[in-house]
Symmetry: C2
Subunit: 359 residues, 2 copies
């Protein structure tokens, strides 16, 4: 692990000044071709790797964008990595059902960043260390995309947003911060109207927690649509604490299974369907189940999940675009974008099956 060569070493070896070395890499057009070749040769021979830190410091910009997801899921145990004994491991132990919603958005962010020549820093923050992570990453990048899976309205973004472009995803918001969100209301309305008008359902229940504004929007739209259709409007979400089994047991006991469970997310829907399967309640035969998000898993399971698809990768790409626009034009005002969603009619609402995956 030798200490690496610097511009000075390359310059000396090529017999030029450090400025010329720098220009050779950053503004090749300003350097005579023969000189350029000299420098390149020297750099290659020496194994020159420009220091990102030095570049960032001198240039005032890092060329990197940050993506932080604030995550309220439990932290995996520290010993995890050393648990290598296959005999002793439950095959389900590190099983992740998802490509979670955030994973797909992250993918969109990464792709767009690379395409535009930015590096990406990824960070996950727990509510407990959010402040520290935020500050640390903010100091390393030219712009920050924030993905909050719930809570965290309390984290103080203002002073960060004053120093560098910040865009929120799937978050509430006044107009002091840029945001990328989706048409939750339109999507939910279309979904409910489909259930009511096409499948003739009347007794709909909303399932899952509504701890953030995306989820609240969905619940509100659910209620509003039912109200407009003059159907009974549930006052609260069911199983808001994730206690699906209990909730199902209770409904079964009271013989009060509704026509449909409209779940706040696909993940909730998948878990609920699992619980229903255990309870031997057929979907969509005895009850319709729908999701919201359009994660991949919903398409692979059986019955395939009817859901409202968010354009996840596009959200990631959009957030990057907003960020870069803002970097290029620092005193532009905040800008938000709402992306459209798409109703995906599949088996779990009683619609006919599709191909399981594209040919």
């Amino acid at each position: 692990m030798t200490k690496g060569p610097t511009v000075y070493d390359v310059a000396e070896r090529a017999g030029v000044s450090i400025a010329t070395v720098s220009f050779t890499f950053r503004r090749p057009s300003k350097v005579k071709e023969s000189t350029r070749e000299l420098v390149h040769a020297a750099a290659r021979e020496l194994g020159y790797i420009p220091s990102g830190s030095a570049r960032g410091l001198a240039g005032g910009r890092t060329g990197a964008l940050g993506l932080i997801s604030l995550d309220y899921r439990p932290v995996p145990p520290l010993e995890f990595a050393s648990n290598h004994d296959p005999g002793s491991t439950d095959p389900n132990a590190d099983f992740r059902l998802f490509p979670l919603f955030v994973d797909e958005v992250q993918r969109g962010v990464e792709q767009e960043c690379w395409r535009r020549g930015y590096a990406v820093m990824i960070a996950g923050a727990k509510p407990s260390n959010a402040e520290a992570v935020l500050t640390d990453i903010a100091g390393r990048v030219d712009g920050l995309a924030l993905f909050f899976s719930g809570m965290a309205d309390d984290v103080d973004l203002r002073h960060i947003a004053e120093r560098l472009p910040v865009v929120l995803m799937s978050q509430p918001g006044d107009d002091t911060l840029s945001r990328v969100c989706v048409d939750n209301v339109g999507g939910m309305r279309a979904l409910i109207q489909h259930l009511v008008q096409v499948h003739g359902l009347r007794d709909l229940r909303f399932v899952g927690p509504t701890f953030d504004s995306d989820r609240k929007e969905r619940f509100d739209a659910f209620r509003a649509t039912l109200r407009a259709a003059k159907l009974p409007v549930p006052r609260d979400p069911m199983a808001a604490a994730g206690n699906y089994r209990e909730a199902i047991a209770d409904l079964t006991h009271r013989q009060a299974i509704p026509d449909a469970f409209v779940c706040v997310t696909d993940e909730v829907a998948l878990e609920l369907m699992d619980t229903l399967r255990e309870a031997k309640i057929d979907v969509p035969g005895q009850v319709v189940v729908t999701g919201f998000d359009g994660i991949v898993a919903g398409r692979l399971i059986s019955p395939q999940l009817t859901t409202v698809r968010q354009p996840m990768e596009a959200m990631g790409a959009t957030v990057v675009r907003l960020l870069i626009d803002r970097i290029d034009q620092p005193d532009a005002s905040t800008a938000s974008e709402t992306l459209p969603v798409q109703l995906l009619l599949r088996e779990s609402c009683g619609c006919p099956p599709q191909q399981p995956h594209p040919a």
Copy 2:
């Protein structure tokens, strides 16, 4: 987007020197409590965000690790991000079947990095720009994890590995580079022995491209195990170019469907099963199909895929551990680790079904 305050500003405001400000954040124990509070107050009032570049430059280390996956899949089109019209979009258009193998490894890398206080830079490289990406990221991090989904034996890592710790994943290797890999041979042997001994299969075919060493190892182990069992040993993989439909059509036409298709990866297996479904060939009734990797999708589809599970998140965590060990002790020699795999017997080989996902 005001220019942010620096140590100097904070120091002035708190009435201390810049060294004290620095110490307050990096070695709090060396600063009197009252002074510390003064500094913190000043920093908070000013909205101080330490510059990662400056810190990296001064300290000689960035506190970040890089993960580069060399990816041979096609680049998504540039207009992708602006394609927001739901009416005109094919719902399958940006559908990703996977959490790909690399995604799950990446997750492991991220988790372990955060846990150990490192930031993560993620980069994807195409063979065409691999050199540039590699150099760029190498200049920004303290250690580099490389995930090569094929090819790229040609990229010159040597001079990078001389400057900072580099660990390869799922890659060939002499001992000049550290590596994390899995027991492809043992896994494939166990799988084939199961098919032969438990299900009594005799005519096995290997499916999919073998362009990298992981895949080659699997194919070789496949052949070796068949040879040891005195069964017919196919000379080449089938459909090595991804032409599943053609291959199946051909076999059907010749009435030569084998007992089993042993696929080089889960992704290949999923695609093949899709093709078989189209061709109305029942799995596992008419032919057994197996995968290799243990990606999530294999568990959600029907029939569930029998496969050999790589400990993907553990691989990610391990690579990080190796990297950090090396950073902390720069002149240690290279170290490699081979992680065990696990045979996952599910429906596609004729074994009984499991729960679709954990309760």
